[in-house]
């Protein structure tokens, strides 16, 4: 039990930041992102014994997080993210410094992407290796490269478009 605790702590420390960003990119809501982060790691704990080291642990956790986010968005029939984010960005405007404004704008642009694109781009931004992204998203590596290229383009266009406003 103590070993499991220690292993879990280490896993949490090295993955929680990235998973939180993924959840935040997915929901655009800090509270929801925290809930999803917690749910993801509760699942990690419960299934730690099932992890067989055939995949990298980060890949495994990403996959859990992606499933958790998808379940959250689909089964709960949440309000569309596009409607939420501008509101959130508006109400929290004062909190943002210039740097944070850029981050908020980036999240706003991510929110304009499709569900699968959002998940892929957050992994790209976190510089996950392509084979790992392919495994998590279930897309062949060849197709993934093309897809990533398009998403990058679209995200950059959106960012420049919003920045002008």
């Amino acid at each position: 039990m103590a070993d499991k605790d220690a292993a879990f702590r280490q896993i949490f420390e090295s993955n929680s930041k990235k998973i939180y960003r993924l959840c935040y990119g997915y929901t655009g809501d800090e509270d929801a992102a925290h809930d999803l982060l917690q749910e993801t790691f509760v699942k990690v704990w419960q299934n730690l014994d099932k992890f067989r080291n055939t995949a990298m642990i980060s890949t495994w956790i990403y996959r859990i997080a992606v499933n958790t986010c998808l379940t959250y968005l689909r089964s709960e029939k949440r309000q569309a993210k596009e409607e939420l984010t501008p509101q959130l960005a508006e109400t929290r405007r004062e909190e943002y410094s210039e740097k944070n404004e850029q981050v908020a704008l980036l999240y706003k642009c991510i929110a304009r992407l499709e569900e699968s694109e959002r998940i892929i781009i957050t992994m790209v931004l976190d510089e996950l290796p392509y084979p790992e992204i392919a495994e998590i998203s279930g897309i062949s590596e060849g197709n993934l490269r093309v897809k990533i290229h398009r998403i990058k383009q679209r995200l950059t266009d959106l960012y420049n478009q919003y920045e002008k406003l």
Partner: protein
């Protein structure tokens, strides 16, 4: 015009950090679903105290009529059977740790659901019948010297309480617990599917 590398640097320099600590998560996972178990445990403690009191009364109080002893025995039998069932329920739910073995816990939860359906279904009516018979027999002698109005009030209160438990409280408790157990089962099943 910004390029993708700029977005990458914005992303990587973002100060956004989770406020959740590993200790919070560990506390959450270890808390498990103890609430169900705690409720059953409280029932066990309450019924044990009632049994001890009734047993003490049976052993140490002196009654003239046999009916009083028979009433107390009937009460004791009803309560002991209830206690045994509750202990069984508690053992079912405490057999597996959710945080260590969710699959086994899920099966325990389904078994628990069936056991509770029996406890609140057929057994409940048998239990109430035994309690009513027991109280009626016991109070024949005990209330013998009390004024008529006192007896009427006593029986009216007892009847009202039993009716309240049977037609209101029982349903509320069943609904609340059923909702919770079904929710847990649904969540655990969803979790299981995810890892198959």
């Amino acid at each position: 015009m910004k390029n993708f590398d700029h977005l990458l640097s914005v992303w990587q320099e973002q100060p956004k950090l989770p406020k959740l600590s590993v200790d919070d998560v560990l506390k959450q996972v270890k808390k498990g679903i103890n609430k169900l178990g705690i409720r059953v445990l409280w029932s066990i403690i309450s019924i044990s105290v009632a049994i001890a009191t009734t047993a003490g009364l049976t052993l140490f109080a002196v009654f003239e009529k046999r009916l009083s002893y028979i009433g107390l025995f009937v009460l004791l039998i009803g309560m002991i059977v209830y206690l045994v069932l509750q202990i069984g329920d508690y053992r079912t739910i405490a057999r597996h740790d959710l945080t260590l073995n969710p699959g086994a816990y899920l099966n325990s939860l389904k078994e628990y659901q069936k056991r509770r359906a029996y406890l609140y279904g057929r057994f409940y009516y048998a239990f109430v019948l035994m309690i009513c018979v027991g109280i009626s027999l016991y109070t024949v002698e005990v209330l013998n010297n009390k004024p008529f109005i006192f007896r009427v009030i006593y029986y009216a209160v007892c009847t009202a309480y039993i009716l309240f438990c049977t037609f209101y409280l029982k349903d509320k408790l069943i609904q609340r617990e059923e909702k919770r157990v079904s929710y847990l089962i649904e969540r655990l099943e969803r979790l299981e599917e995810q890892f198959e």
